[in-house]
C-alpha cells in the first residue's frame, strides 16, 4: 500500500465538489474518578512506573474486580446530557484478546447491553455553522497499561523488547461511538470539541488530550456526492490532538479521492496517522479478523438502572455547552466567537450569566465588559474574573449606570478599575469619585461658552469649513468637565452655538 504525501494530495475544488466524505468518530475518554474502575488504586496520570498497582489491576491470580459506582454514574450523566436512552438493564462483558499491556488478556467492557444507547451531539464550528451527530452508544470499560518500545526512537519498528508500566491499567474509560453523520474534518473536530467541552462541564473527565485522556479513531470513506451507498472505510488511529484529527482526516480524504480518481479501490484497513510526515500509513491489514469471544463477565453481576436513579442524575445535569452556545447566539445575539469564548470557560460563562440576569438581560453590554475591560484587567493581574473582587451584580449596576447615561464610557472604565481593586458597589464608587455624568444643559452650555471663548482660532477654522475640529472642541469640553459631561449633549450644544 503506497502512501501519498499530503503535498501530492492537494485537491482541486472540482474534486472536492465531486466527492463527499463520510466520517464516524469513536473516542475513548478516561473518566475522572478518585480510584480505578475495578480496584482501589489511584486514577491519576503519570507517576513512577508500576507504583499504582494492586493484585486486581495487575491481574494477579485470584484477584477479582468490583465496579466503581461513580464511574457508572458518570456514564449515566454523560448519556443523559446527549439525550441518550439509559436502558434499565446493563452488564459487563469480557473482550478477549492478548496484548502485553492488558494484564488479564481480556478487557472488561460492554458488548450488547451498554449503559447508554443513542443520543445526539449538537455541535458548532468556528464560523458559527451548526451540526448534529448521532451517537450509537456510550459504554464503560477499563484502560490498559502503557508499553514503551526499546528502540532508538521509541517506536515499534526496530524494537527488540518492550517495557510495560501498568499504572494506567484499570483506569475507567468510556467509549463513545458516533454514527457516520460527519462530512468533513471540520465537522469531526467540531463534534469532538463539543464532546470534550461537555464532558468537562459534566465533571466526568478532564479531557486532556496531551495526557491521553481523550483518544480517538475515525472511520473515513468517500463517495460521489449524491450517492446513496457508503464507500469502503478506513479506520484512522493514533491521532493525539484536535489538530492532528483535522490533518489526518483531511489527508485521508484526499488519499481516498486520489485512489478512486486513479481507478483504484479503497480497501478496508486500519491506518495509522504519522504526525511528522502528515500522512496515514497502512497498518498490517487484518489477515485474521479479530474474534474477541465476548461473553458476560462471570466475576460481575448485572447492573440495573432504575428510573429513580436516572431522574436523580438528570436533576443535577448542568446546561450543556451546546445549549449554552445556542442561547448566547440565538437569545442574546452574541457573535459565534464571543459565545465560544464564554462557553469555553464555564466559570466565566456562569459569571456572565449571573451578570446578565442581574442586569435584566443586557447581554450585549455585559459581554462587552466581560470580554473587554474585565478580561484585560484579569489578564494583566493574572487572576481569573471568577476569583476577582468584581461581582456580577456590581457589573450589572455599572451596565445600568451607563445605559441610563448616569455615567459616560470613560467614567465607566474608571469605575471598573476601582471595582477591580476594591470590589464593592458601582454606585458607591460613582458617588465617591464624583463620576456621575452631567446632563444639565445649563451647566454644559456654560462650559461650551467658555471653551468657544478661549479658542477663537479653532472656531474660525470650523466656520471656514474645517468641520473635523469638532472633535477637539468636544474633547476640551469633556476635559473641562473632568470627563463628566454627557458627550452627546456637549456636541449638540457646540454645534448649535457654532452653527447659530
Amino acid at each position: 500500500m503506497s502512501t501519498i504525501a499530503s503535498s501530492d494530495a492537494a485537491l482541486t475544488s472540482e474534486l472536492l465538489d465531486k466527492y463527499e466524505a463520510v466520517i464516524g468518530i469513536e473516542c475513548h475518554v478516561e473518566l475522572k474518578t478518585v480510584s480505578k474502575m475495578f480496584c482501589g488504586c489511584p486514577n491519576a496520570f503519570g507517576g513512577e512506573p508500576n507504583t499504582k498497582v494492586c493484585p486486581v489491576c495487575l491481574a494477579l491470580p485470584g484477584s477479582l474486580p468490583v465496579p466503581n459506582a461513580r464511574a457508572i454514574e458518570h456514564m449515566i450523566r454523560s448519556g443523559l446530557a446527549f439525550g441518550a436512552t439509559i436502558p434499565a438493564h446493563s452488564k459487563f462483558d469480557r473482550k478477549n484478546y492478548f496484548y502485553p499491556d492488558m494484564p488479564k488478556n481480556y478487557q472488561i467492557s460492554q458488548y450488547d447491553m451498554p449503559l447508554t444507547v443513542g443520543g445526539v451531539v449538537g455541535y458548532w464550528l468556528e464560523d458559527g455553522s451548526r451540526g448534529e451527530c448521532r451517537l450509537t452508544r456510550i459504554h464503560l470499560e477499563e484502560d490498559t497499561g502503557k508499553s514503551t518500545h526499546a528502540s532508538a526512537d521509541g517506536r515499534l519498528a526496530g524494537a527488540t523488547s518492550s517495557l510495560i508500566d501498568f499504572n494506567r491499567a484499570g483506569v475507567p474509560l468510556m467509549e463513545c461511538v458516533g454514527e457516520p453523520d460527519l462530512r468533513s474534518a471540520d465537522e469531526a473536530v467540531g463534534f469532538l470539541e463539543t464532546l470534550a467541552r461537555t464532558f468537562r462541564e459534566l465533571g466526568v473527565s478532564d479531557v486532556k488530550m496531551e495526557e491521553g485522556s481523550l483518544r480517538c479513531d475515525a472511520n473515513v470513506s468517500v463517495r460521489l456526492r449524491g450517492a446513496a451507498e457508503y464507500g469502503t472505510k478506513a479506520e484512522i488511529k493514533n491521532m493525539n490532538s484536535f489538530r492532528s484529527v483535522r490533518r489526518a482526516i483531511e489527508s485521508e480524504i484526499a488519499r481516498q479521492i486520489h485512489v478512486v480518481e486513479s481507478g483504484g479501490r479503497v480497501i478496508q484497513e486500519t491506518r495509522g496517522w504519522d504526525e511528522t510526515a502528515g500522512v496515514t500509513h497502512s497498518q498490517r491489514s487484518k489477515e485474521e479478523a479479530h474474534d474477541y469471544r465476548y461473553f458476560p463477565d462471570p466475576d460481575l453481576v448485572p447492573i440495573d438502572v432504575t428510573s429513580d436513579v436516572v431522574e436523580r442524575v438528570r436533576a443535577t445535569l448542568p446546561e450543556t455547552p451546546f445549549a449554552r452556545y445556542v442561547r448566547y447566539v440565538d437569545d442574546y445575539g452574541l457573535d459565534s466567537k464571543r459565545a465560544t469564548q464564554l462557553v469555553d470557560d464555564h466559570v466565566l460563562a456562569a459569571w456572565f450569566d449571573r451578570a446578565v440576569a442581574a442586569s435584566g438581560g443586557k447581554a450585549q453590554a455585559v459581554v462587552a465588559f466581560v470580554l473587554g475591560d474585565l478580561a484585560r484587567l484579569a489578564n494583566e493581574s493574572g487572576t481569573h474574573l471568577g476569583d476577582g473582587k468584581v461581582t456580577p451584580e456590581a457589573l450589572a449596576e455599572l451596565v445600568a449606570l451607563t445605559s441610563s447615561n448616569a455615567i459616560n464610557s470613560k467614567a465607566a472604565k474608571q469605575v471598573l478599575e476601582a471595582l477591580w481593586v476594591d470590589g464593592g458597589s458601582a454606585k458607591a464608587i460613582v458617588e465617591r469619585e464624583g463620576l456621575a455624568q452631567v446632563s444639565d444643559r445649563g451647566a454644559i452650555a456654560a462650559i461650551v461658552d467658555e471653551i468657544l471663548a478661549t479658542n477663537p482660532s479653532v472656531v474660525a477654522d470650523y466656520k471656514a469649513g474645517k468641520l473635523n475640529v469638532m472633535g477637539f472642541l468636544t474633547g476640551q469640553v469633556m476635559k473641562a468637565s473632568r470627563g463628566r459631561a454627557n458627550p452627546t449633549l456637549a456636541q449638540e450644544l457646540l454645534k448649535g452655538k457654532l452653527g447659530g
Binding site: G40, T51, P67, R70, A159, Q283, D291, V301, I303
Partner: protein, 100 residues
C-alpha cells in the same frame, strides 16, 4: 447446532497455545468425542428460556469511589514475580503489531 468439528489450529491460535503435531493428533479425537457428547444439548428445548450467567440474583454490586492504599503493592512487590524486569518496568520481547 453446527456439526463440523473443531479447527484445532485456529482455536489454538486464538488461545495462544503452541501445539505440537502429536498434541493435535491426540486432542482432535478427544475434543471431537466431547463435542459429540455436548451435541446432545441440541435436543433440549430452550425456546424462550433465559440464559443464566449467574445463579444468584444479585444486582448492582459496586464499590464507593475511594482509594484502598493498603492494597497497593510496592514496586518491588509488583515486580517480584516478573520473569523479566528492567528498572521500574516489566520487560517483554518485542511487540510485533497492534492486536487490539
Amino acid at each position: 447446532m453446527p456439526t463440523d468439528r473443531i479447527d484445532i489450529r485456529h482455536v489454538a491460535r486464538l488461545a495462544r497455545l503452541a501445539l505440537t503435531d502429536a498434541e493435535i493428533a491426540t486432542f482432535a479425537p478427544q475434543l471431537g468425542s466431547l463435542m459429540t457428547h455436548v451435541d446432545a444439548l441440541a435436543e433440549l428445548d430452550t425456546e424462550r428460556v433465559p440464559a443464566t450467567a449467574q445463579v444468584v440474583p444479585s444486582r448492582n454490586v459496586q464499590r464507593d469511589d475511594v482509594l484502598r492504599p493498603e492494597t497497593i503493592l510496592s514496586r518491588e512487590a509488583a515486580l517480584a514475580n516478573a520473569p523479566q524486569a528492567q528498572g521500574a518496568y516489566f520487560r517483554v520481547p518485542r511487540i510485533i503489531a497492534e492486536e487490539g
